[in-house]
Symmetry: C2
Subunit: 300 residues, 2 copies
């Protein structure tokens, strides 16, 4: 439930000024306006599951997009049933959109790629909640390889050879010796990775899927003392979220989706940080950045 | 459309600590929390029409009522079609409520009484918009009559006679002379009246229906210069709203439902006040009160 300070779930992911929306709880469009986000730039919306606190903002957002004369197609991804809900809604309210709504129903039980462009891949995978629920992984593609300066001089490489090597080819010397690509190049930047897990019981495979993620968002609806409630409602505790982060070896953990029963999140932070110190609280309007980092030099 | 400062339409009417909700745009439950209103006290919701900006908050509010373990029935009133939308929604989201939802579809073309208790009557009447739209009138019942002191001594009234006279009876003297009730009593308080008109084209009958209302809320989506746009979209201008207030002789006019095309409401207020000086702007979170007023003494 929303509180005086907290709206239902929605996250905006900005990848090089391309906007992706994760879930769309009631009031998302108002929050986007409040935080001065040009939400016309959102072309892709990913819904975790069909509970109201993750979906009820879609109707108003779609309606506003239409009033604003949106031209781009809007792609919405989510579990089976989402098409029926959205099309049913448009019909009930006799809404005629001025743009194309492209609804993608995901396979509920598979780890699958759902989006790809030249710099980013997005995957969906099943979580474990009371109803079909999907987690999402945002994985930056490797940037074009950087060629080592010493390799150019050592092999006296031509421009044509350099282009091929940058695209991943090995190099064949005039003497017929094959030099492996890894000896000639280095990735310029570390691949960035974000993993979004809500709503879910603790799930072993998250350790693997979130491996080395820069940020893992993991719901922590309950405190440790309410772990039986978490189990019964298909949610996680602070301790369970922090354990997932620790085992996956992520850079940072964001916890959120707190039950309205708790007055504040002091205890949540305390419990999680005892297990995983790099834990922060998801607060409305806060931005977390993953900086582009030089890939570490590997010395031979 | 909502803006950074303004949520879609919803008004809470507090009649002696009984709460009635007029319309329920997206985010209404968050605004109720923000303004610290104990919204569990809302038992009756009146919807003007089935456009998203007046309805999209209902789903989340109903869902929260259920999560909060609401016990009282919730009565929702609105145009035909509202039952289908609400029940369809509950079904699509497999929502099982822990309280009774009582949906009342109104006759779309009649002025009708929709609610009555011992102190209040609520009426609905058709407005003129692109789809069926209802206005609402909140009318306080006359309080029990006050008996004039001089009448008690003049006619030496018994307790039994006084009770009858307070309930409106005339008095028959021992000599058989009938004294009319109006000579014996006076109403202690002026009946309070609130009239809610959104969304609508200007409508002559509002002059009559809002006659002597303490407050008239009338939408003023557009400025006077955009009156053709108002006509084409089934809305009103500032000038049209103020003219209705003036002709109905209301105490105060509240204007709202402003198009997002206008940066602020300075010009709205100016235009309306030129015609009807007692005009104010509907701003999120603002409360307007109608004080209980002694009925004016009528001297013989």
């Amino acid at each position: 439930m929303p509180t005086a300070k907290r709206f239902p779930t929605a996250q905006l992911i900005n990848v090089n000024e391309r906007f992706f929306l994760l879930d769309c709880g009631e009031g998302t469009q108002m929050q986007l306006r409040k935080f001065r986000i040009r939400f016309g730039k959102i072309n892709h919306i990913f819904i975790s599951h069909l509970h109201g606190d993750h979906v009820f903002g879609l109707f108003g957002l779609i309606s506003s997009f239409s009033l604003l004369g949106r031209k781009n197609s809007l792609h919405i991804y989510g579990p089976p049933g989402i098409k029926n809900i959205l099309l049913g809604h448009l019909q009930m309210f006799s809404m005629e959109l001025v743009f194309t709504l492209d609804i993608h129903e995901l396979a509920p039980k598979r780890h699958q790629q759902v989006f790809e462009d030249k710099s980013l891949t997005i995957f969906a995978f099943p979580l474990k909640h009371r109803i079909t629920t999907m987690g999402y992984i945002f994985l930056e593609k490797d940037a074009e390889l950087n060629i080592k300066k010493e390799a150019i001089s050592k092999y006296n490489l031509s421009l044509a050879s350099i282009t091929k090597i940058k695209n991943g080819s090995d190099y064949l010397t005039p003497d017929g010796i094959q030099v492996p690509n890894s000896e000639l190049t280095k990735p310029p930047y570390k691949q960035r990775k974000y993993v979004y897990c809500t709503d879910t019981r603790p799930l072993k495979k998250i350790n693997e899927l979130a491996k080395n993620a820069d940020i893992l968002y993991h719901e922590a609806t309950f405190l440790d003392r309410d772990k039986y409630l978490a189990r019964d409602t298909g949610h996680s505790t602070t301790v369970q979220a922090a354990t997932a982060a620790k085992e996956a070896g992520v850079g940072r953990l964001i916890i959120g989706h707190f039950s309205a029963r708790y007055k504040d999140q002091v205890q949540h932070l305390k419990e999680a940080r005892e297990i995983f110190s790099e834990t922060v609280i998801a607060e409305d309007g806060v931005t977390f950045s993953i900086e582009k980092m030089r890939a570490p030099e590997v010395k031979n």
